[in-house]
């Protein structure tokens, strides 16, 4: 008799434990985008560093012998924009690729409305910052271009962090601090950029990869019947 009661109780307990897992999983996957992979951060960081060096060594240096003509300035601006676009494109492509891979591997379901919300919240600060950066670029004010891209990227991360990992929030704050610092210490701008988009992304990516991606393999998936 006693054993029977104990058996029933254990059964009830097991069901409740599984119930709690279902509740947590549904709450998480419906409100947070957790397929973001640390590898995306690493690739984005490396790309940014290469892009920044190309800009600093090949595009930006001026021949000091004479003042550049308008044509030369225009040419440099165009190259900078192409450089930035290529960095962005490579980072985003790898970001999508690694996220898809992670989602498939962990059998994570991603809700379409969540992706829309994430993209919407990300794009408002990013587009605003992009416009500001473009205005400063047209004025030939490269230090402010660097400050604007860092600051608004940071704001975008803070804004979107409620839909993904909390760590994104702190990465965003760091980028904002660097952006403001880059606006003050204008002569070292490119280094702030390399730190913000390069090293921060790489170290963030490695941390996240170790913390979430490697561990996720053990995750137990429950069928909802």
């Amino acid at each position: 008799m006693h054993h029977k009661v104990l058996f029933i109780l254990t059964n009830i307990m097991n069901k409740q434990l599984e119930d709690i897992k279902v509740i947590r999983e549904m709450m998480e996957c419906s409100s947070k985008f957790l397929s973001l992979s640390g590898l995306s951060g690493i690739v984005a960081g490396i790309t940014a560093i290469i892009g920044a060096f190309i800009a600093d060594f090949y595009i930006l240096p001026l021949n000091n012998d004479f003042t550049p003509t308008h044509e030369e300035m225009f040419h440099k601006m165009l190259l900078l924009i192409v450089d930035a676009m290529v960095i962005l494109l490579i980072s985003i492509s790898f970001g999508i690729y690694f996220s898809r891979r992670k989602a498939i591997k962990n059998n994570q379901k991603i809700s379409g409305s969540l992706i829309r919300k994430t993209l919407y919240n990300l794009s408002i600060p990013l587009l605003t910052g992009g416009i500001f950066a473009f205005i400063f670029l047209l004025q030939g004010n490269i230090p402010m271009v660097i400050a604007m891209t860092l600051t608004f990227y940071g704001l975008a991360l803070v804004n979107v962090s409620k839909y993904t990992y909390d760590e994104i929030h702190y990465l965003g704050l760091l980028e904002i601090i660097l952006g403001v610092a880059a606006a003050i210490f204008t002569q070292h701008g490119i280094w702030f950029w390399i730190f913000g988009f390069g090293f921060f992304h790489i170290s963030y990516g490695i941390t996240m990869y170790i913390k979430y991606d490697l561990k996720k393999d053990e995750k137990h998936h429950i069928e909802i019947k």
Binding site: L9, M13, D19, V22, I23, K109, S111, G112, I224, K225
Partner: protein, 96 residues
């Protein structure tokens, strides 16, 4: 012990209903297709559970059009939120 178990809401015994309540408790609203996709369910299966939760007054539905397609979204009622919270509290107590 028996007392705690009796506090568990019978309406949430099904995993699907539990899933629906969980999704709606952390989102202002969610539409039919989103929930179907998240829980990997068939239309009929999800619809019947949504209907019964709506019948109990725990959730409410509202129809809207996205382009020309009708789209049904759901949200928790105040009563639903309260009952779900009580159910979670009971679960928590049971595990302790």
């Amino acid at each position: 012990m028996k007392n705690i178990i009796s506090k568990l809401n019978k309406a949430f015994e099904s995993r699907i209903r539990l899933g629906i309540m969980s999704i709606l408790s952390v989102n202002d609203s969610a539409d039919f297709n989103t929930m179907k996709q998240l829980m990997e369910l068939t239309d009929g299966n999800l619809a019947s559970h949504l209907k019964s939760l709506e019948g109990l007054g725990y959730i409410q539905s509202f129809k809207q059009f996205i382009g020309r397609k009708p789209n049904t979204s759901y949200m928790l009622t105040e009563d639903g939120r309260k009952c779900f919270k009580e159910h979670l509290d009971a679960l928590e107590e049971l595990i302790k």
